[in-house]
Symmetry: D2
Subunit: 389 residues, 4 copies
């Protein structure tokens, strides 16, 4: 894969919101391992020829940093993940120095007395990161814990109203949206890997446009929803009527614990459920649960039961079990999204990037939920990006 | 869906090789039930707008007939299938007269002293069927039992050599190919719903060209292979490396019994296995079995275990179970293929129709094994057919 | 199987609370079908030699009746069940007269102004049934809808307090307990096939003792809990540590609809969960859901995922899927329990019959939750009953 | 658990045939780890109170040795197993010295010019092991590769005939039986953990009796067959008719490779299949496969599909998936069997020990295949052994 030189030399910063979490840690160590030639590039969509054609910034040029509310050293978090099988323990040892360096670029999440002040502190941290590390651009990636859906408020609908509320010392923004605000103010594209409100509020989409920044979201599509987006079109194009589709998910880990809170889970089950009806063209019944099962850790286990009807009303069943390592599935997508969003930024795209729907449970700016359709859209977009280089 | 009048008035004959088998019986009763408004059109791909746009002959105009080596009345076979849950028993009672009429159009398979004579007898039966029933065209559909692969012989490679061998009283043709030969001689398009050699021999593809006839094959894609063609691209486009893919199939019924013979099973496991490597671009290991389990009857149960590797070498697993009624899945495809092949014939297409790959395990004339790609190809072809009407 | 004559001549009445429900209807038609020689005795534990040895009343002598709040004819309910595959439709036709007769013995559940009056009306209906049909004894079987757990009240703890409250015109009893009260007053043994409070209240166990009546409960063990009671001892006796056991259940039908109400579901998930910890000797984590999925009807589908740890801490997994017809699993147990409780009554046993634990999710009077241990206890008890004949 | 002192002081030797294989290596490192307090005793049946009551020799007094045809150092084999997740890699480092010592006690399997000479060499190695290590007794455990069933020969039926054949320089014995012969000659009890012929030949059971030695077999019950022996009685005691039971097994590793050879697999599928019919009392149809899938390594994955019939002929289905680590399941049983056989030897038992059926797929000397029945027999036997101490 030959890429234009300009692109190859790029230094792209990745600013993680939730930089000490499972996904961020796995993405960080993975980028380091692959840059050092210690691991193959399995799982990276951006290494497939159809996507690499876009002319993406190299993995070797990625520099990570970010915010977190925890101070656990990155190497410690990495060791825990390695022990539970997310990646080989040998990597933690081999990359000890690099992890320490990455650790030193993580800042404690600012919690000042007003949202205005906090947002400015976040913005300054990001700007400092870009300057200190001599980066061409920084992509902010939200991989912190899932928040409940935002409640409707007029301040969230227009940028003017929002600025006014912030000036008045109010705190109208959900945390994920506060980070989105700061990212855009710092002139950084944003990737919303969580189902949290983030940049989806009217005031923030307005800000992104004003700043001419691209952003993408939301909620990385890594497990059961991924399988659904591959399977549901099979039923649709074969004219088989899905009678019910039950989805049972279990996982432990930090994300599992958060989702054990029903208010947070609403965001997730909403983004997970959206696609099925859209793909099939009618409403499909069926229970959907996400249960916290501590002993499973990052190893999500899901079982789906699909009851469907065929010719002359005959009823049939398909079931599947998915046993995937959540962080190992998420981390490469995060790197893919960073590279693709960086390229979009470089090419001057702005607003929500619908062509990245392939990566998301709730594909903002895209209407196609089928994996194959999203793949074609992505490949086409990458070809265009490459051609325009 | 408005269709050109000419098409709506068409009377299309369906000549089943294996007319008293499970698939043919289910297709026959299904066509009758839907024409009579006794059943919805679930499972018929040809009723989806993207396909109907081609301007297809109506179900109401389909007339069935065919050859079989058995003389069991169709109503009897239908009752057995209904009792085992393939379709509602009420249909057998309600359609008693229509089934008797269909039964009267089935002929005993001719077995004369030479293949030349047998072929002529088959041809005459088909021609008589067309004339007696005042049909615009007849589509021959092979749904008889699966044969072993053909052994290489020079007589099978060119039409001239074949004719010479037949003239000399030799019997070089596998049975499925003898039917294909007769079909083409009778100026009928052919649909090979089985994995048998059929028209794939050089001599016969030559004959189809000479007669300017379209034909399609082979081996209806109804179960595990269908799911594979929907799922494998997910692993591919997500850059997940499939380490092994095990496929275990059980079924009873006539087809199960045939496939319990390892020689016949070779044809099936070959067509079933072909696509996976093609879709992924590398060879995937894994056992594949088709076991005869009498008690399951037409209800095929399959279990697949997919072991795959993601980011940083992490190993994960997906399993699925498929519990489908084989004949209920196959019968609507047979009707779809008849309607589409009739339309192709009407439009003057000839040779193998690669655009029908969507329906087949071993898609002749097509190179794409992904279900979504095949669907797009089909929809595009149908749009063209419709436009050209 | 030779049985003492006295027993063979017995006429035993079965009084169903919920006589028009799925379980009662299936048990009624099943008893009729087997008595008439129209169906084999598959599924009847009481026909196994180890149990039949007790000298049980014959199926031919069972007469059914009962209460329900609905008036749908039994034949109609039976037709609906037959259409959904619970039993062969042919039985409904063949047994039309017998079903009509059974129907005529069902009474509308009395709902008078006080519980005292309602209880007396129930008692009178049962007594009339016994006399009109010249029955040796009547077993009351609760197969009505599941109720929430009873709230603690002093009137429910002692018989004297209960009688006083009823005299005072109060309504302290849950419906299932009101039926239990009336059954005992009518001198009838009781079988609690539901998880409802029934006779488990102090006042009622006292009444059963006073009336010297045997009773048994509770909550028929037919699906996932049955499998658990067979599997959990395997982990226990192999010293494998169960880390989590997740239980997901889906069903439609009347029972599914009731259990969709979280208050009723509590009774069920409590009785379902009780045994696992008892069998393993430690607490096992894991989600347990019962979801109403209308399209499944009586066909319950359950998936369990068991994560366990073996030698040197190695983690392993077992999963199972259960696709069972709930009423077809429950109905024979109801007949078994009637025959066994009738025999216990004849032999003068009283109080809760712990030896029937084999049949229940929440085995009252028994402490062993393992299926094999319960089976041995049952077989031993039956041998004793037989010997004492 | 208090045990008589005499027992506590015992030094028991374990002589592995196949000492460098997966099972032997895992058992060796496990015994060392537990003796050193580095691992809990999960998975050891001999640590459950019902079994420990027998007064078993302590794990701390076990000394391992054995024969193998390979010379790979034990620590190397252990590292490979640890890397594939069979046990924690840290154990290999922590126990490096102990593993080296165990390694030094393994001898190359003698292959001399006659079976007589080979047998004598094996015998001498075992005797030397006992003397050099000052052991109270040595238990020989066959964990080498599975052999095909033995062909019938008169020399194998009587000890006299066998001795004569060996004297004549003939080689009538399968390898596993040659080891059994040498073990008995060396006055050692034998545990046959494989399905190979071993001591099951007439001549060898005679020799065991003559030497007054206990022995036990055969084929450790660790996976699907274990589950069958827990589940099949559920169907039996519930009077549910099993219509078919399909068993699909996949595994990699050394054992998987051996079983990919159909001749060796016969031994395995025979011992695996035996129990089901015995437990249910009738013949059950269903395919059984063991497939070699390299990428799975020691992680056996099995899927079983059970089709059964209940009340009024209703058909239902149960499926299970088993994902177990074969060596981690087998190794503790090996240690259990060594301790129990040592105790039987000490108490003077001789001939095949039927009370150990709990541990075997093909329980020699036992007729009960149900896990619960085997467990009761084992517990009773242990209680007797303890009482007699
Ligand atoms: N893993 C997947 O497959 C997957 C897929 C889709 C979406 N996601 C989403 O990605 C997110 C991260 O998942 P995870 O498994 O890494 O979770 P995690 O709990 O391991 O990590 C979240 C991190 O966010 C930090 N955090 C919390 N509040 C913060 C704040 N106010 N500011 C900065 N940091 C904060 C936490 O301290 C923690 O380190 C979740 O929202 C999850 O739903 C994950
Ligand atoms: N059902 C599916 O899902 C499916 C999918 C793909 C392919 N197929 C193929 O379709 C074919 C039919 O399947 P089925 O289940 O109906 O099988 P079946 O055994 O019920 O029917 C086959 C029929 O062919 C007849 N026959 C045999 N030899 C003949 C001959 N020489 N001339 C005429 N008739 C002959 C038989 O008598 C029988 O009636 C099989 O080859 C099967 O592999 C089926
Ligand atoms: N089917 C099983 O496998 C199974 C197993 C264990 C327990 N159970 C229990 O058995 C019970 C019956 O199950 P089902 O599937 O037949 O349910 P169902 O809803 O089909 O039947 C219940 C019947 O009870 C009647 N009823 C309700 N209130 C009543 C009242 N006050 N007096 C008299 N009748 C009343 C209803 O009208 C209905 O006809 C449920 O409680 C269920 O939990 C069933
Ligand atoms: N792991 C389980 O769950 C399980 C269960 C039941 C039975 N078994 C049986 O246990 C046996 C061992 O399984 P494994 O996984 O350890 O296999 P393995 O292939 O890893 O080990 C077998 C060892 O035997 C050695 N060997 C071969 N021929 C020999 C000979 N003539 N003399 C001495 N040593 C010889 C091999 O070199 C190898 O080291 C197999 O027969 C298997 O069927 C295993
Ligand atoms: Na079939
Ligand atoms: Na092994």
């Amino acid at each position: 894969m030959t890429q234009p030189n300009a692109v190859h030399d790029q230094r792209v910063g990745v600013w993680f919101v939730g930089a000490r979490g499972s996904v961020a840690t796995t993405a960080t160590i993975g980028a380091l391992a692959m840059a050092a030639g210690l691991a193959p590039r399995t799982g990276l969509v951006s290494e497939l020829p159809e996507v690499a054609v876009a002319g993406l910034p190299p993995l070797e040029g990625l520099i990570t940093g970010g915010h977190d509310i925890l101070e656990t050293p990155l190497a410690h978090r990495a060791q825990v993940l390695a022990d539970s099988g997310v990646f080989p323990p040998a990597l933690v040892t081999a990359l000890a120095d690099e992890l320490a360096a990455a650790d030193s670029r993580i800042r404690l999440a600012p919690r000042l007395s007003t949202q205005r002040e906090s947002a400015q502190a976040v913005e300054q941290d990001i700007r400092a990161f870009r300057e200190d590390n001599d980066l061409d651009r920084v992509i902010v990636v939200d991989v912190s814990n899932t928040e409940p859906p935002a409640t409707q408020r007029p301040e969230l609908d227009s940028l003017a109203a929002l600025e006014e509320a912030l000036d008045a010392g109010h705190a109208p923004l959900p945390t994920s949206s506060l980070y989105a605000y700061a990212a855009f103010r710092a002139e950084c594209p944003l990737v919303s890997f969580t189902p949290s409100p983030g940049a989806t509020l009217g005031a923030l989409t307005e800000l992104a446009k004003e700043q001419a920044l691209p952003w993408a979201g939301r909620d990385g599509k890594t497990g059961e929803t991924l399988v659904k987006s591959a399977l549901a079109p099979m039923f649709g194009t074969r004219a088989l009527k899905v009678r019910s589709w039950a989805s049972y998910n279990m996982l432990g880990g930090g994300d599992g614990q958060t989702l054990a809170d029903p208010r947070a889970a609403v965001s997730k089950t909403t983004t997970k459920g959206a696609g099925l009806d859209a793909m099939l063209g009618y409403h499909v019944e069926g229970p959907m649960h996400i249960d916290y099962v501590e002993d499973l850790g990052d190893w999500k286990t899901a079982w789906d039961n699909i009851s469907f009807e065929g010719f002359l009303g005959t009823r049939m069943t398909m079931q599947f079990t998915w046993q995937g390592c959540d962080s190992a599935l998420a981390a490469p997508l995060v790197l893919d999204l960073v590279r693709l969003t960086a390229r979009a930024h470089e090419r001057g795209e702005n607003g929500v990037v619908g062509a990245l729907a392939f990566f998301f449970k709730d594909p903002l700016g895209g209407i196609d939920h089928t994996l194959s359709g999203q793949w074609r859209t992505l490949a086409q977009w990458c070809e265009n990006l490459g051609a325009s280089a």
